[in-house]
């Protein structure tokens, strides 16, 4: 295509004598044409490579179609060719912000099939690290959501906190993002000396700094103007789409598998689930910030209850799950994470199906975007909380 042709195609008005077929929408006061705007796959607001095709009337979105799959890496298929030791290094990569929760899910599923008892201390350590992982994840979303609304500072504050936590977790697991700490029957090694003290200190610091986030973001008038009443998700719609996690809690449903179907030792401690009222962006963000508070409470309880003893058990050289299937769901930082594991008795799973929270959350985006403005669309996109790797797998 020549330069001239391209130009005429994009600026039809510049081609002299050419009839322009404009579709007139609205009440006909203005001659307007619909425009298709493709946000992503490389766009600052899509957290990776989600693409959203928007049909625009000026700045108003008439319809939106998310396009997923740009980051499909075939984890479910890859898992069929890895043994259970290797799978944990796969699953902590599909949602890279919740690595610990994901590997925990697989370990729990295999243990459930083997009907294996896990040492007490390992269970409590798993809970401790799972909650730290939740805080890591939520801090990331706090920072990125603020930056999407144009406030740049919370990102740096969030990363300051994340650095502390990652340093702490690195001292135990050796990893900052992909921990690879769980294994069937327990955890890899015991916590290093002084870990619990350090963990207590960091929890106290973050509890203190959490007030800054509330003042700087939740209490900010412009933030409220941008989020209150924007992108309200109705409870029925959320349930129909299978939306989970803070996005669901914001609509007033306190469905959290730590409470409704406790795993590990969550049944023995108090777990608060902050809920919203209207399901709008503000409530979603409110739930996110207050879930950090709830996680810190859990961490304090775990510190008090931490027993001593072994953290893993002697396993055969190759772990083989018995023939059969199981489904297990845990509360990933972003929502319900389900693993359907089917085994034919060999050392690799026959099928490992992942039910990831981000996938369901992205599905509800078109419903939320219809009729909103572009800036609101960004506010909505940031507040349904998804990780693109977790959508595409």
């Amino acid at each position: 295509m020549s330069d001239l042709e391209t130009r005429e195609r994009i600026h039809p008005g510049t081609a002299p004598g050419e009839d322009i077929a404009l579709e007139i929408i609205g009440d006909g006061d203005f001659d307007t044409a619909e425009m298709t705007l493709s946000i992503g796959p490389a766009h600052p607001a899509t957290h990776g490579v989600l693409r959203i095709i928007m049909e625009m009337d000026g700045e108003r979105i008439r319809d939106a179609h998310p396009v997923i799959g740009y980051m499909h890496r075939g984890f479910e298929k890859l898992a069929e060719h890895r043994d259970y030791r290797q799978i944990k290094a796969l699953v902590n990569r599909h949602d890279w912000l919740s690595g610990f929760a994901n590997e925990l899910g697989v370990a729990l599923a295999v243990e459930k099939m083997l009907e294996m008892e896990v040492p007490e201390r390992a269970v409590w350590i798993r809970m401790l690290l799972a909650e730290w992982n939740r805080i890591l994840n939520h801090l990331m979303f706090i920072g990125s959501y603020a930056i999407e609304l144009g406030a740049i500072t919370p990102m740096f504050y969030a990363f300051r906190e994340r650095e502390d936590i990652q340093y702490l977790l690195e001292s135990a697991t050796g990893g900052r993002l992909h921990f690879t700490y769980n294994q069937v029957g327990g955890i890899k090694v015991d916590l290093p000396k002084g870990f619990l003290q350090q963990s207590t200190d960091i929890a106290a610091t973050i509890r203190k700094r959490l007030q800054d986030y509330k003042d700087l973001i939740l209490g900010n008038e412009i933030f409220q103007a941008r989020t209150v009443g924007v992108g309200a998700l109705e409870r029925e719609v959320a349930l129909a789409y299978g939306v989970t996690g803070p996005t669901l809690h914001a609509t007033g449903v306190a469905e959290d598998s730590r409470v409704t179907e406790p795993y590990l030792k969550y049944g023995e401690i108090d777990v608060t689930v902050p809920v919203g009222e209207h399901g709008d962006c503000y409530d979603r963000f409110y739930c996110l910030v207050h879930r950090i508070q709830a996680s810190l409470d859990i961490i304090d309880q775990v510190h008090d209850a931490m027993p001593s003893g072994p953290v893993n058990q002697k396993l055969p050289k190759v772990v083989k799950a018995p023939e059969g299937w199981t489904y297990l769901r845990i509360e990933n930082p972003l929502g319900q994470l389900g693993y359907y594991l089917e085994s034919d008795g060999t050392k690799t799973p026959w099928r490992l199906k992942m039910r990831t929270p981000s996938f369901s959350n992205v599905a509800v985006i078109p419903h939320l975007l219809r009729g909103t403005l572009v800036p609101d669309a960004i506010a909505v996109l940031g507040s349904v909380f998804f990780v693109v790797g977790d959508v595409d797998r």
Binding site: T6, H11, L37, P44, E59, A146, G150, L373, I378
Partner: protein, 363 residues
């Protein structure tokens, strides 16, 4: 021409020497460093202030404490490939940064920076400054349209809408100053602040005190006019990638950036002149060596240097607050911005004019 104009001023500019071309050269020597160096300093300050408010260090490598970072950036911009999208309207695309940049330079010609140091003291100086600063948006609109990019188009249209909405409170706020000073000449406005007394007392005041509301309106409106956060919707990097600048690279991008920082400086300088008493250090205190009216004219070299320093200090203070706001606030939405302008700022600006006019007649 310059002889006629200089009669209007309290004193003539020291740059108005007898040789015409010599005077022109001196004025250019005043304006260009003002336009190219002060924005760089402001840019460096923005880097550092943002960094420290966000618990980090900012640029540290280029020069001592990163002071040469923006020079290094400039060299980088010059070296980069100048990309023009295939579908772009080449001429308009290429001209847009210039159309945005040149008015930002021209505004400096009427700004008095120190006693007897200004390029031109126009009788309509305020009118000229506000008028010419609005031309930049045409460059932005040209860039937004000619890029053949939907994000750019959104950015350009938003910038135009924003300008229309915020030009009015800006002009209305400035009109109140003109009423109080009884002049549109910026030098006269500085002079009348040095001689403005509260009621019948001997207390000298700058216009920022009787017109605090007008100053706040002018400040907010100039933030919107400059597309500075929280009014940076035309750029909105999380929504529109980079708004009207999306397709620009290399030196053209740098020209847009320079327009923004130059605009910050010129708007701050304008506020300094209109509300903060120009180069006067504290209200009622004459500069050392000055014996002209109000103690701010007819100064020696020392007075001129101190006066220039005071002006620069006030400019840096105002730009510092702009940076502070950028660090603190999220971005408003375009319709909220429009609503805020037409329902809050314009009525307040009208009230401000009314109050100032009544006060002027009453006292």
């Amino acid at each position: 021409m310059s002889a006629v104009l200089s009669q209007l001023a309290v004193t003539p500019s020291i740059l108005d020497i007898d040789n015409f071309w010599g005077a022109v050269g001196l004025k250019i020597l005043l304006i260009l460093p003002l336009f190219f160096v002060v924005p760089l300093v402001v840019g460096y300050m923005e880097h550092k202030v943002m960094a420290h408010q966000q618990d980090r260090l900012g640029p540290m490598e280029a020069g001592p404490h990163g002071t040469l970072q923006l020079v290094a950036d400039g060299i980088k911009f010059i070296q980069k490939e100048d990309i023009i999208p295939r579908a772009a309207d080449r001429w308009v695309f290429a001209m847009a940064p210039g159309v945005a940049l040149v008015p930002a330079i021209l505004i400096f010609f009427v700004l008095p920076v120190a006693p007897e140091v200004w390029a031109e003291d126009l009788e309509l100086g305020l009118f000229y400054a506000l008028g010419i600063s609005s031309i930049s948006v045409i460059g932005i609109l040209m860039g937004g349209w000619a890029s053949a990019n939907k994000f750019s188009l959104f950015g350009g249209v938003r910038a135009a809408a924003q300008l229309i909405a915020y030009e009015l409170p800006l002009i209305l706020a400035a009109a109140a100053v003109a009423i109080q000073a009884e002049s549109l000449s910026l030098v006269d406005i500085v002079n009348s602040q040095a001689t403005f007394m509260l009621g019948n007392t001997e207390i000298n005041l700058w216009f920022v005190f009787p017109q605090a509301l007008g100053f706040a309106l002018f400040y907010v409106a100039s933030l919107a006019e400059l597309s500075r956060p929280p009014f940076d919707m035309p750029i909105a990097d999380s929504e529109l990638v980079f708004g009207y600048m999306t397709e620009y690279s290399g030196i053209k991008f740098a020209m847009f950036l320079l327009t923004e920082y130059g605009g910050m400086v010129s708007m701050s300088a304008l506020m300094t002149v209109l509300y903060l008493g120009g180069w006067q250090i504290v209200p009622g205190v004459p500069l050392p060596g000055c014996d002209g009216a109000g103690g701010i004219f007819d100064c020696g070299a020392l007075g001129i240097l101190i006066g220039g320093g005071v002006t620069l200090g006030k400019i840096f203070l105002l730009t510092f607050i702009m940076v502070w706001l950028r660090v603190t606030y999220p971005r408003l939405r375009e319709d909220q911005l429009q609503k805020f302008s037409w329902t809050v700022m314009v009525p307040l600006a009208l009230i401000n004019i009314g109050v100032v006019a009544v006060g002027k007649v009453a006292f």
